[in-house]
Symmetry: C2
Subunit: 208 residues, 2 copies
């Protein structure tokens, strides 16, 4: 009955320090069918970040060439740098029936929803601004001025939560992970994604 169909495109956004990385790590540890779309960016790698893992770190020139040739599913500028989603691997995985996670900036999320009305969008909210600030400082890689700048950006990003399908509070990690898993599972059961179900069940009756 449940044939392998096209995968689900999950757009995940959060303000900086919202803990997207931690939630995703746990999601991928638990779900073999999930693929992560690695974004491209023009920003400099942080200590420990590896090209092709957290991001493809490319130059402004390379990035702009990809935009021009239609190779980016979406792109945005954020704190002076480009961020974007290379199109080819996403389409390949979806066709293979994999679910694909796009971890993108809030601006990118708005573009994605227009490009791909079928996707499922999740906004990961910190339980409070206080927790968000602690997480940003705890990362230890940012100067105070950068933390302030990111907090300011977060205050502007959080109201965009209303443009997303689902809100997940990133309070307890295991709850946030289970919420995202439930969203993926439930979305696959939506009638709008199973329009052939009636025909399938009834046709079987004729062929007996």
């Amino acid at each position: 009955m449940k044939t392998a169909e096209k995968g689900l495109l999950l757009v995940l956004s959060a303000p900086s320090g919202g803990g997207k990385g931690t939630v995703l790590k746990e999601l991928f540890a638990q779900d073999e069918n999930l693929r992560l779309s690695v974004s491209a960016t023009t920003r400099a790698p942080r200590p420990g970040e590896v090209h092709g893992e957290q991001y493809y770190f490319i130059s402004r020139e390379e990035f702009e060439k990809m935009i021009e040739s239609g190779g980016m599913l979406e792109h945005a500028q954020y704190v002076g740098n480009y961020y974007g989603t290379p199109k080819a691997p996403v389409e390949k995985w979806l066709d293979e029936g994999r679910d694909v996670v796009l971890e993108i900036e809030v601006q990118g999320g708005q573009q994605i929803k227009k490009l791909c009305p079928d996707c499922v969008s999740v906004f990961l909210l910190p339980p409070s601004m206080e927790v968000l600030e602690k997480r940003l400082r705890g990362r230890g890689t940012e100067e105070d001025a950068v933390v302030q700048k990111r907090l300011g950006a977060a205050r502007e990003e959080i109201p965009h939560a209303q443009e997303y399908d689902y809100i997940v509070y990133n309070d307890r990690l295991e709850d946030a992970v289970a919420d995202v898993q439930a969203i993926l599972r439930a979305e696959k059961r939506k009638y709008s994604r199973n329009r052939d179900c009636i025909e399938r069940v009834l046709e079987n009756a004729e062929t007996q």
Copy 2:
């Protein structure tokens, strides 16, 4: 963050023999927050059925009095009998933050969606008509003519699946139960049910 809010109303429908009872039994075994709205009916109890458990078995006169006084959330006629949902217990549980399951006939489901646009509706589909027929015969309480009548009704009911939010195949019990649990969990994370989330997170920032 996640305060106890009004519960979720889950409308569950399936053709006769669709295995609603088995799925519900397992759901209730796993979720203490769930309450079952016991329906009222004018049909005769089957062997083993207890008044107040599977149904409130009441007379046609009593049933019609409840309709007239507005005490039924919905009601329908099916194979010559009334089925309906007494309103008072449902509203009480939802206010207490319990999720309430309404296990109702397909006709009832259409009415409920009009009465309560906030509810979540799930149509439990048998994997095939063949399996449905086996389940109906396996029950062992029905004559062949009754099985044929119920199969005919099922063929008319199944196309109504398109009026429901979610389709769950009742193939493997544990999958069907996990699907319904995921639907409940995901629905609670919908932005439309969390419109105060932005305010909550940002207000916290002002009060530090």
